[in-house]
């Protein structure tokens, strides 16, 4: 897959942002941390593309994605806290700090040896934590949703989150095992790029259902 198509697929994170721009006026503010996740995903992907195309800073991609990994869990944990998936603030803080320690240890002890592959271990740890909460969020819909599930924003957000992070763990593990040559690894990563695009499309559908939940309810 060429750089342009890769960049185009990674830009799918703009879709939920665009949808949010049109629906933000009366949108429930509890969803805002999730919007920030998409915003930072967009910034990271754009920086990675610009670096690959023009600047060629050594290790730039690693640091940009690592920056993403430092930012996303904070917003995600806040989002899960707002959605009552995480009950106490203290739990969220403990998870966040433990994750930061894990990232630091991974970088400090293994980066020199593994280079960019080192990122996948952090990515898998991150995806596992977020997937755990997404499954929780998704399955809670059974009891908490008192309307058609297909009209619930959390259903789509949960579905996209579960798909994205489950596939990330799958492809990340294969990549981390360094099963074969570079061409093979790129082919494995291509699967993730398509999953990425589909997931953001589902996220965008979820964002579309958010409006007006703060000042108004509609139940049927």
């Amino acid at each position: 897959m060429n750089t342009e198509l890769t960049f185009l697929l990674s830009l799918s994170c703009v879709l939920p942002l665009v949808v949010y721009l049109f629906t933000s006026q009366r949108a429930d503010r509890r969803y805002l941390p999730l919007i920030f996740v998409f915003l930072f995903a967009f910034l990271v992907e754009t920086s990675v593309y610009l670096n690959m195309k023009y600047f060629h800073v050594k290790g730039g991609m690693y640091w940009m994605y690592t920056f993403g990994l430092l930012v996303w869990p904070g917003f995600y944990l806040r989002f899960f806290r707002y959605m009552d998936v995480i009950r106490s603030r203290k739990s969220a803080e403990i998870i966040f700090v433990s994750f930061l320690v894990l990232i630091f240890c991974n970088w400090f002890f293994l980066y020199k040896k593994e280079g960019f592959f080192n990122f996948f271990r952090m990515g898998i740890a991150y995806a596992s934590i977020i997937l755990f909460f997404y499954v929780n969020l998704f399955s809670r819909q059974i009891l908490s949703e008192n309307r058609d599930l297909l009209r619930s924003p959390l259903f789509y957000i949960g579905l996209a989150g579960v798909s994205f992070h489950a596939f990330y763990i799958f492809t990340g593990t294969i990549t981390l095992l360094k099963l074969s040559d570079g061409g093979f690894m790129n082919a494995v990563q291509d699967i993730m790029k398509w999953v990425n695009a589909i997931s953001y499309l589902i996220f965008a559908i979820g964002i579309l259902w958010i409006p007006q939940t703060k000042t108004s309810i509609k139940s049927s």
């Binding site: 059974i142 294969i174 703060k214 509609k218 139940s219």
Partner: protein, 246 residues
Amino acid sequence: MDPANKDLYQIILIGAGILVAILVYFVVAIIRQQRKVYHWQQDRIAAEITTLENERKRIAADLHDELGPVLSAVRLQINHLEPEDETEKMVLARSTSQIDEVIQRFREISYDLMPNTLLRKGLSRAVEEFAEKMQLANGLNINFSGEEQRMQPEKELNVFRIVQEIVHNTIKHARAGSLVIELRFRNNKMLLYTKDDGLGFDYREKEQRGGLGLLNLQSRVALLKGNLQLDTQPGKGTVYNIEIPV
């Protein structure tokens, strides 16, 4: 990609396919389970509301048949007493006034339990009567306009309870000066619109605190297979738009 890697890639694609299948199964199972739980909850709410209304009906009938005649008889007997001095006269006057109060309160309770107007004259007339009573008792300016079209008695009773709940909420929490209630029938649907100029509220905060009044409204609307839309913000009043299929 060399042939060995090609085979491995195919295995990985199959693995990805299995992951997709698991996800699809997971989603379908969640949707089915949620629908099952939703219907079960609806049935339970319906059973609870029906039991509640039957019990109210029974209490109203008991009050009317057993307590009503006794109170009237007591009132009649008091009227026939002949006081001998001023003290007795005063006691008699006080007793008459108290028994009148009891009869008046008894009528109000009976009306709240099961309004006769609703059964005899229909929803619109019952809501109008209720609005007049509440306006007199609480000083809230209620503007009611409605069309009359008979529906099933259970449906009329539930809509009446919805109106009661909204009016009580407006008086109890909204501190509103006026309330508009409109009852219309369009395209085989009953449309109930209410708007007050009160305090309004933060829906999310209310939801977290578990407001029972709002939950009652939602349950009754769901029981009637209708739609409820609530628009409110602190300081901006409250608007209800309710649609019930006739």
